[in-house]
Symmetry: none
Subunit: 414 residues, 2 copies
């Protein structure tokens, strides 16, 4: 089953409100086999609404709208779609009564404001979708050819409740057994194009699964999507598909779904009975913040030293003045001494250190902005890396934490 | 000037990615009088792209697309729009050379992967929009009737850079006189309803400006919006409006626009010639990360100690065992000793400490989840606060850093 979404509101076109409703509806319906094939955002004007909904109806005959059901003058969704269906508006006494009751029950002063009475007007022949989460009822309007528009409120909490209460059950009955579900394999430490090369023909999708490459500072996510089969068949195909991708991605794969690399590292360290300490320069605490973002990291993460100033590197972490003078603060040698230093100071099994030039200033010809070194000490061993990271200051810092965590993961995995 | 946006990608229709690009483009262009009148999200298929762009072109003749410019098989934006314009695709040797150079300059192994070569193909007669922020160049395609499509990458950082580099200057020349602009006053340490009470009648907007209250973990932002006047008149009205709000918000106001409280604190400390060190427990590095997020914090921020484990609090920060035993790690006393301890250890003028229970586990009847204490030492003086913060683990940690920074700001401001 194919439908379109029309999200209504000037605030969406001005860009002050990010359209999270659209994503929520799409995700919810896809899991039950209803495919959103297009999403349109239009303004509050009656003509804009009618024009957007008319086009969507012509293409799919099945449309969900959000927004424009409120009590103010710019809420024109109902009359403009009623006109599109050639229906008049009529006052619904039951809705009016419910609105008055609601007003009274809340203990709000005065009677129901005149403005709210507009919410009791609905198109002739429409089905009212009760709103247990707010004041504006939703509307289901359908013509003799079976084309329909479902109008939901724009307030996210109300929209979500009504989607679950009314639309999911209705569409589940009408929809095919075929569902759309996705599974994601997360990789890092390999570029999108190298991954595409390694995947070869698999990169275009396989076994009826489509494959998307989603690159970001965390790495490249591989998302497999299955469409048009039953729920059980879909889940099996996705499991098998992820396994095939895992074989190719090999050591570069660190998790599935929304797994976070910091969580993966914490779990690995816990399994090995190893405790972690961090020494951070250019990332200034970002690595520690990620390692403690999840609950229950306290049995693994001891703490660390933020050595932003060079004096802190020498006094607190024991980095040798000779190292700083000869190869500089941004060097693999310094990173190694920081990692060993913090592990020894805090009595940790694993020390992780990052030092670099996040910019925008501070770069030189030899060490341009983006030059970052990181090191991991594990017992007596220490490994380090140096790289030229891309992006602005924020992204360089994010990529540096991810790279350092990945070095821990690879160290512990072998 | 009226334009339409088409954001391209299956991930947008599946709801796994929230379309933040659309909002950013709309906001940026509105400030220069360019109105986005409709936004459409469509899938990666060539027909879907062509169909969505064709409709948008028919309505406004001016279209910006995002997405589908990458190196993989599902990146079909360029060929499908080229077909719409009746143009063939040709290989651009300059782009290919630039891609190869970029690959080499990064020191990535092997030559440019085959997959990336696709990025060097562009429609006949198109103008290439150089991408200084990533590998995929943008495209400006225009026909003899003056209808145009600007194709930008979907990666937000690249899209933002190219919007500023290329489209804003191009459209500003073509754009109209009446603009929509906003100005924001940022407040913290006061609730939305108390702020509304203090603002009284001003809270409904004034002088033709509309006012929105935007609460979040950073505090409550007050956003003034002016519409439908010339650029100069608009800017003056917004400046005057912000001044009136500032008088009411008084000490609770910490900045305007997208000012970050950490940056405000860094600037205040620099003015006072004071250097900062941090001691973090439940925030695990978040405070240090915020203080170093902006460039040029190194003359003020020395570093700090992440004292996640209690042993680190006693050994590294000199928190007394007696304090931990009697009032516990989450107490104003511990926070005070942590602040003094880190300032003394690193030779800083200002010490900032945070200790608390971010949850979801670890709460008790006396100290439920969300109990956080923070302290600021400044020379010989030390102040501290205790509060019950709301939200999940992430939000409690964010609110804690904001509260600690605000205590520094208020300490330095008086």
């Amino acid at each position: 089953m194919r439908i379109e979404l029309v999200t209504i509101g000037d605030e969406l076109l001005l860009g002050y409100t990010i359209d999270t409703n659209g994503a929520f509806i799409a995700r919810t319906l896809a899991a039950d086999g209803v495919q959103v094939v297009r999403r349109t955002s239009c303004g509050d004007g009656a003509d804009e609404i009618a024009d957007a909904v008319r086009g969507a109806l012509e293409r799919t005959g099945a449309v969900i709208t959000t927004g424009g059901l409120g009590p103010t003058a710019d809420d024109l969704t109902k009359p403009s779609i009623a006109a599109l269906f050639g229906r008049a508006m009529r006052k619904d006494d039951a809705i009016l009564e419910a609105l008055r009751e609601r007003w009274k029950a809340r203990g709000w002063p005065g009677g129901l404001p005149k403005a709210n009475e507009q919410q009791a007007w609905i198109p002739e022949g429409a089905t009212v979708l009760e709103n247990r989460h707010g004041s504006a009822p939703g509307i289901w309007l359908e013509n003799e050819r079976g084309q329909w528009v479902a109008m939901l409120p724009g307030v996210p909490r109300e929209m979500r409740g009504m989607l679950t209460d009314h639309l999911v059950p209705r569409l589940r009955v009408q929809g095919a057994a075929a569902v759309v579900r996705s599974a994601t394999l997360r990789t890092t430490g390999i570029s999108e194009s190298m991954l595409a090369d390694q995947l070869g023909a698999l990169g275009k999708g396989f076994d009826g699964l489509s494959l998307a490459f989603l690159p970001g500072w965390e790495g490249v996510d591989l998302r497999l999507t299955a469409r048009g089969r039953g729920a059980e068949d879909t889940d099996r195909a996705l499991r098998d598909g992820v396994s095939r991708l895992r074989e190719v991605a090999a050591i570069h794969a660190y998790g599935e779904g929304d797994a976070d690399l910091a969580g993966v590292v914490i779990d690995l360290a816990r399994t090995r009975g190893a405790r972690i300490a961090v020494a951070e320069s250019c990332t200034g605490g970002l690595l520690g913040a990620r390692l403690t973002a999840g609950a229950g990291s306290s049995d693994v993460f001891l703490g660390g030293v933020l050595a932003y100033h060079n004096d802190v590197k020498t006094v607190e972490l024991g980095v040798r003045a000779h190292t700083l003078e000869t190869v500089g603060a941004v060097s693999e040698e310094t990173a190694q001494e920081m990692a060993r230093g913090v592990a020894s100071k805090l009595g940790a099994d694993i020390g992780i250190a990052i030092t670099g030039i996040a910019g925008p200033g501070g770069g030189t010809a030899e060490k341009p902005v983006g030059t970052v070194c990181w090191a991991v000490s594990h017992g007596d061993a220490v490994v380090s890396r140096r790289a030229q990271l891309i992006g602005d200051r924020t992204e360089i810092r994010q990529r540096a934490t991810q790279a350092a965590l990945d070095l821990v993961r690879r160290t512990l995995a072998t």
